[in-house]
């Protein structure tokens, strides 16, 4: 058999990639295109007819102030979360690779929050914020202590805190891999040349870990932009719909308010925003990558 023949290569490719590719097209590409079509209809999500309305849904998307408020809120939430997640994850990774006693135990421990589903996690923290913190505050002598979740800024703070707690362990693993990939000899050479440990970290280790940063920031950005589960179970958009993130607004618009077409259009715009941010970040990050 001729291994360099085109037909052989194609059949080999199809054998491996074909089934998965087919499923990918069936479950991601086709629904995406169908969704695109739905943005041009005024379908309510359940009716048999899907009246064509042109760009009306996009017009109402741009006129939907609640949507843009939700996007703005998501941006603020994402900026804080992404920065904090990565700082905490990097610090944890440094800690558990520096040779402290029982570091494998700590690695597992920090990772565990990520194994709990977002919905459960939200309910657990809701209990902590609403009952545990309030009880502690009251036992410390504060009368009529109110839950953090009952104020606008408090709810946002809680969301960020829980997200950081949830994702820091996961990102830590990627940073741990990054730390391990930097060879000891390079660090040693830098130290012999007179670097302090901090300088070695700044000038040798961090530049060599750049790909870890790119990955972690990309993952945390996309996850924060699309946050839904924690949002639903922790705050449910309350108080006063002031913690409704973009994804939750899209869901409400499409399913609860039964404006499926508008919801779909809003989802598409959210996707575009998210894609632009993510791709830009990866492009900038990759450009300055150095090879060891």
């Amino acid at each position: 058999m001729q291994r360099n023949k085109m037909s052989y290569k194609v059949s080999q490719f199809l054998m491996f990639a074909g089934p998965a590719g087919l499923l990918f097209v069936g479950t991601v590409i086709i629904p995406f295109l169908y969704g695109l079509y739905l943005t041009f209809t005024s379908w309510d999500g359940i009716s048999r007819t899907k009246p064509f309305v042109g760009f009306e849904n996009y017009a109402s998307t741009f006129a939907d102030t609640a949507y843009w408020q939700a996007i703005g809120r998501t941006l603020i939430y994402s900026i804080f979360s992404v920065i904090l997640i990565n700082i905490v994850a990097f610090a944890l990774a440094y800690l558990v690779t520096s040779g402290v006693k029982g570091q494998n135990f700590f690695r597992a421990g920090f990772f565990i929050p990520n194994l709990i589903g977002g919905i459960v996690l939200g309910y657990v923290w809701k209990f902590v914020f609403n009952r545990a913190f309030v009880a502690v505050a009251e036992s410390l002598g504060q009368r009529n202590a109110a839950s953090l979740l009952s104020t606008t800024n408090g709810a946002m703070f809680c969301l960020i805190l829980v997200s950081v707690w949830q994702y820091a362990g996961y990102m830590m693993l990627i940073y741990v891999a990054g730390f391990m990939s930097v060879s000891e000899s390079l660090k040693e050479a830098a130290m012999i040349d007179g670097c302090t440990p901090a300088q070695a970290m700044q000038n040798v280790t961090i530049p060599l870990m750049r790909s870890s940063f790119v990955q972690c920031i990309f993952l945390s950005i996309t996850r924060c932009f699309m946050v839904y589960d924690v949002n639903l179970s922790l705050t449910k958009g309350e108080p006063f719909n002031s913690s409704v993130m973009a994804a939750m607004h899209v869901f409400n618009q499409a399913f609860t308010y039964k404006n499926y077409g508008t919801g779909q259009a809003e989802a598409l715009i959210l996707f575009v925003i998210c894609a632009i941010v993510g791709v830009t970040q990866v492009y900038i990050g990759k450009k300055g990558e150095v090879a060891a």
Partner: protein
């Protein structure tokens, strides 16, 4: 050797595909199905969507025994999703339920396209709560539910020393006097408020529309900008009562993070005396060590209407039968038989009233309702003292005005501000045609 490798490669890619496919398995997270019964008889299988969580267990048991005795296969499903959202996924996949339990507003939005005309059924003459559109009956009322102030008579008696007669508290002045007596007697905060948007906007605020002589005209006035909420007598009267509830709220400082379960537990155990709610709250209250004498009374008001002698409510949760080609004639017939069974068969009646503890919407059912809140509702329903539900509120009403109401509850806005928020909501809203 090459053959061996090729085989391995194929096996590997097959395994990978299987792995991917496994991810697409049907999700069992929110929908638990249960099958019961043999398939003798005409062998039809009917599927029922239940949207009342508290009767899921009873329905599953019924499915089994009903299926066995009637020779049909009954499958009961439950979803905690928004009903319309859940049904849309089922319709999108061409797998509608034979019978779906939905809210009244869903019947209005779905029935014309998706429901079987039930006008010819016997039970139509025995109920006033069925939903018909353009003269055709589509919705079978599962039960009657009504809203008002839930009271704990034992807790009140423990302080005042005399039996509590809800009829003695008709006006807000009476109510305020009783509240201050209770406080003087040692109950620190006699009321609780559910901060949930559906309770505030879909239940409490909705009473303002429902108590109007002509709710449609009132809402049209709000929409056209000719009526202003803050000027409305009923709105002000209801909000006066709400202020009394708010001022005596046990969770005054954290009113908008008070949890429903905690509030109802306190009410059940007599730590509180009053809470605005409805007879569906019994399914929460009965989880706790509840007092024997509880009930629902009309919202006390000083206004000039007779609304303070009536509860607000009516048929709640409706069954409709799917009319699409996915449901066969045998299935439709089996579904109709099932509805008749609940109304006319003594076992069916007992299932509805005794096991599910629902207030029946049919005049021929005379079984006594066991839970105290349901019993209150039945008393009012029997004497015709129910103000009907207004079922045409837009889908985003409860969420958007619920948020505005929460701001009022948290003292972020005053009554004028809240009224203005309601005005601007209605001016921008699209009114449903009916």
């Amino acid at each position: 050797m090459i053959k061996m490798k090729k085989f391995l490669a194929l096996a590997l890619s097959a395994a990978m595909t299987a792995g991917i496919l496994a991810g697409c398995g049907s999700d069992g997270s929110t929908n638990g199905g249960s099958t019961g019964g043999s398939t003798s008889g005409n062998g039809a299988t009917i599927t029922i969507l239940n949207s009342k969580m508290e009767i899921q267990e009873q329905l599953e048991k019924m499915a089994e025994s009903y299926g066995k005795s009637k020779g049909v296969n009954v499958e009961v499903y439950y979803s905690s999703d928004t009903i319309a959202a859940h049904l849309s996924t089922r319709y999108a996949s061409n797998e509608p339920y034979t019978i779906s339990m939905v809210d009244a507003k869903d019947v209005y939005s779905l029935a014309k396209e998706h429901a079987v005309d039930l006008s010819g059924e016997d039970w139509v003459k025995d109920t006033t709560e069925a939903i018909s559109i353009d003269g055709k009956v589509y919705g079978f009322p599962v039960c009657v539910e009504a809203r008002g102030i839930i009271y704990n008579a034992d807790a009140i008696k423990a302080i005042t020393g005399s039996d509590f007669d809800p009829a003695s508290v008709k006006t807000l002045d009476d109510f305020n006097k009783l509240l201050s007596d209770l406080k003087a007697g040692g109950m620190a905060a006699p009321t609780g408020i559910m901060k949930e948007d559906w309770s505030l906007a879909a239940h409490f605020l909705a009473e303002v529309y429902e108590q109007q002589a002509d709710p449609d005209a009132f809402i049209k006035g709000l929409h056209d900008g000719t009526t202003h909420m803050a000027d409305d007598a009923i709105f002000n009267s209801m909000m006066d009562t709400f202020d009394a509830l708010k001022a005596n709220n046990y969770a005054e400082a954290s009113a908008i993070s008070a949890e429903r379960e905690v509030t109802e537990q306190k009410l059940a155990e007599g730590e509180l005396a009053f809470m605005f709610g409805g007879n569906w709250d019994w399914s929460v209250i009965n989880q706790y060590d509840y007092s024997d004498n509880m009930g629902i009374m009309p919202v006390p008001q000083n206004g000039s209407t007779d609304a303070n002698t009536k509860l607000v409510g009516g048929g709640s949760k409706y069954f409709f039968i799917d009319s699409s080609s996915n449901t066969s004639d045998e299935q439709v017939q089996a579904a109709k038989d099932f509805l008749n069974w609940m109304v006319y068969d003594s076992e069916g009646q007992s299932f509805l009233v005794n096991e599910c503890a629902l207030v029946p919407a049919f005049s021929n059912i005379t079984l006594a309702v066991s839970d105290p809140l349901g019993a209150s509702v039945k008393t009012y329903a029997d004497k015709g003292a129910l103000i009907g539900n207004y079922n045409y509120l837009p889908d985003d009403h409860y969420s958007k005005l619920g948020a505005a109401f929460q701001e009022y509850l948290a003292n972020k806005t005053d009554r004028a501000g809240f009224g203005a928020a309601i005005d601007s909501y209605w001016q921008a809203a699209t009114l449903s045609e009916h």
